[in-house]
């Protein structure tokens, strides 16, 4: 079978002089191509008619020849009202003459122009449009019309402006809140400063004059009297320690954080060396895993290890074979650090009290302390986006775990984090 053709048929009747029909002439024209062309035009016309964007077609002089229904809907002008008019009837009066000049120069050169207009509807309200204007050329290359496609972006712009406004508001609020925080911090700093200076002085005097009494009036005091004075001196020292610990706790909270790669093993060695120097008579087996690094504030991490290792040191004091280890292990796919000792340990029933300020699980008679160290440790891990927890058993020792969840491990991406930290 051959291909199907679309034909246009014309029949012509031939008559003789008397008017009698003599012949019928049938002329068949193959119009397949024309039919296809028409179909295509219908499709394109439908697309233009159905488009949600306004479409305007003008002649080369800029007079409107056609507008689609979306145009009518957006602008409120009917097709009949605008045909033959210049699109300037839509001008919102916000763009500069230069803007239009540039537009005309571009499209008369035969190039496409893209831009933005604030246009005025028939009822006078304004709308925001994103416009693309393209020249249409005939076969000879002459510009015969311009097609403008305009999308109403009023809603989008409004939404964007709203987002911007909310952002600015949020930023403003952050600025205000930051100022408040800074003021509070300043106050805390002034308070700490005053405590640091003024609270210690009377303690020094109590201690000093008690000692003076002990020295200068030794012959007038019996043993009980001397003992009382010694208690006065110890009490003043304890309070001084308490003040120092509180100041450190406050400092840990307010100090600025600096992030860098910190070798925890090295810090641990330094802490242990200082503990050993203070009590050279003690024999403690120390195991420190080498090469443990993390990202964080070195000074704060030093305080953290100082507290944890200091605790381990203190609570193993009554062990003949004291053991303290610092290392790293994996728990639930996460690597955590730990400080473990075989000292006095604690009752897990009270584990929740461990990290509260002034909470102590041992009486001062057993082990001295202010109960601020672990609260300080917890603040430090918090500030590093991590946490600290503990396991223990009475008389069998304690293990303190800590991790810095939000700080990338140094092994992956040490380079990038290093630069970030500076």
């Amino acid at each position: 079978m051959g291909a199907r053709l679309v034909v246009a048929s014309h029949w012509v009747l031939h008559k003789d002089e008397q008017g009698k029909p003599r012949a019928i002439l049938e002329i068949n024209n193959d119009i397949t191509e024309r039919k296809q062309m028409e179909d295509r035009l219908t499709r394109l016309a439908t697309a233009v008619e159905q488009s949600g964007d306004s479409i305007i077609i003008t002649d080369p002089a800029g007079n409107i020849q056609y507008v689609n229904p979306a145009f009518e809907q957006t602008t409120g002008y009917s097709s009949a009202e605008v045909i033959g008019q210049n699109p300037r009837i839509l001008k919102g009066g916000q763009a500069s003459p230069e803007y239009y000049k540039h537009l005309w120069e571009t499209i008369t050169r035969g190039e496409q122009w893209q831009g933005h207009f604030t246009n005025r509807k028939r009822d006078g309200t304004l709308f925001e449009g994103e416009v693309t204007i393209s020249p249409v050329r005939d076969g000879a290359g002459k510009i015969v019309s311009y097609v403008a496609v305009e999308r109403d972006v009023t809603e989008r712009r409004r939404a964007e402006a709203e987002v911007r406004r909310l952002n600015e508001e949020l930023e403003q609020r952050v600025v205000e809140r930051t100022a408040q925080l800074e003021a509070a911090n300043k106050e805390l700093e002034a308070f700490s400063y005053s405590v640091s200076h003024d609270l210690r002085a009377p303690l020094r005097h109590i201690n000093g004059f008690s000692q003076a009494l002990l020295e200068d009036y030794a012959d007038k005091l019996d043993e009980a009297g001397k003992g009382y004075l010694q208690e006065v001196r110890s009490a003043s020292q304890e309070m001084a320690q308490l003040i120092d610990d509180l100041l450190q706790l406050a400092r840990v909270t307010r100090s600025e954080m600096r992030s860098e790669v910190v070798n925890l093993s090295e810090l641990a060695h330094a802490v242990v060396a200082a503990l050993q120097a203070r009590e050279p008579e003690r024999t403690v087996t120390i195991k420190i895993e080498e090469g443990l690094v993390t990202h964080g504030d070195k000074r704060l991490l030093q305080v953290l290890l100082g507290n944890l290792l200091g605790n381990a040191w203190k609570f193993t004091a009554k062990r003949a074979q004291a053991e303290i280890s610092f290392g790293q292990e994996r728990q639930d796919g996460q690597s955590v650090f730990y400080v473990r000792d075989n000292g006095a340990g604690f009752d897990m029933a009270y584990v929740n009290k461990l990290f509260g300020a002034f909470q102590r699980l041992h009486s001062p008679r057993e082990f001295e302390g202010t109960g601020i160290g672990l609260a300080t440790v917890q603040r430090i891990t918090n500030r590093h986006g991590g946490h600290v927890w503990a396991e223990g058993k009475i008389q069998e020792g304690a293990t303190f775990f800590f991790s810095f969840a939000n700080f990338k491990e140094a092994e992956d991406g040490e380079q990038s984090d290093l630069t970030r930290g500076r």
Partner: protein, 146 residues
């Protein structure tokens, strides 16, 4: 032996008494000039006010300077000491209650030679004083007078 003077700048009478006691107990027999605020300290150093006409040829071998002082505080005194030709090379030891970081940094920035926190425990206080005396009055050599 030339008279090596110590200038003690201390507003608190109890601290003054304890410091003098500690110096005596450390067998430091040098004359101690006590200034009870920053103005008095500067008057002594520059021969003004109550110390007008004093022999400026005698300058302290060591200045023990408290930070929290009435009128002119310790850091301002230090600043004035370092700014003046006659006193800029004098050894200044900050001897104070606090070990606040900002105090340490400011003190060293202004040219303090040393920073010692007064210990609460008197035995440690005594030891600190003894070591300061030994170092700044015996071991250390001051710059010659111009």
């Amino acid at each position: 032996m030339e008279n090596k003077v110590i200038l003690l700048v201390e507003d608190n009478a109890r601290d003054e008494a304890l410091t003098l006691r500690a110096l005596k107990k450390s067998n430091i027999v040098n004359d101690v000039i006590v200034a009870r605020d920053g103005v008095e300290a500067l008057d002594y150093l520059f021969g003004t006010g109550a110390h007008a006409g004093r022999d400026l040829g005698v300058m302290p071998q060591m200045i023990l300077l408290d930070l929290k002082l009435p009128k002119v505080d310790g850091l301002q005194v230090l600043q004035k000491i370092r700014a003046d030709e006659r006193t800029k090379r004098l050894p200044v030891v900050i001897f104070t209650s606090s070990s606040e970081e900002e105090d340490l940094i400011k003190s060293y920035n202004l040219g303090a030679n040393s920073y010692v926190r007064k210990p609460v425990d008197f035995e440690q206080f005594l030891e600190a004083t003894r070591q300061l005396g030994l170092y700044w009055l015996v071991l250390n050599q001051v710059a010659p007078n111009d």
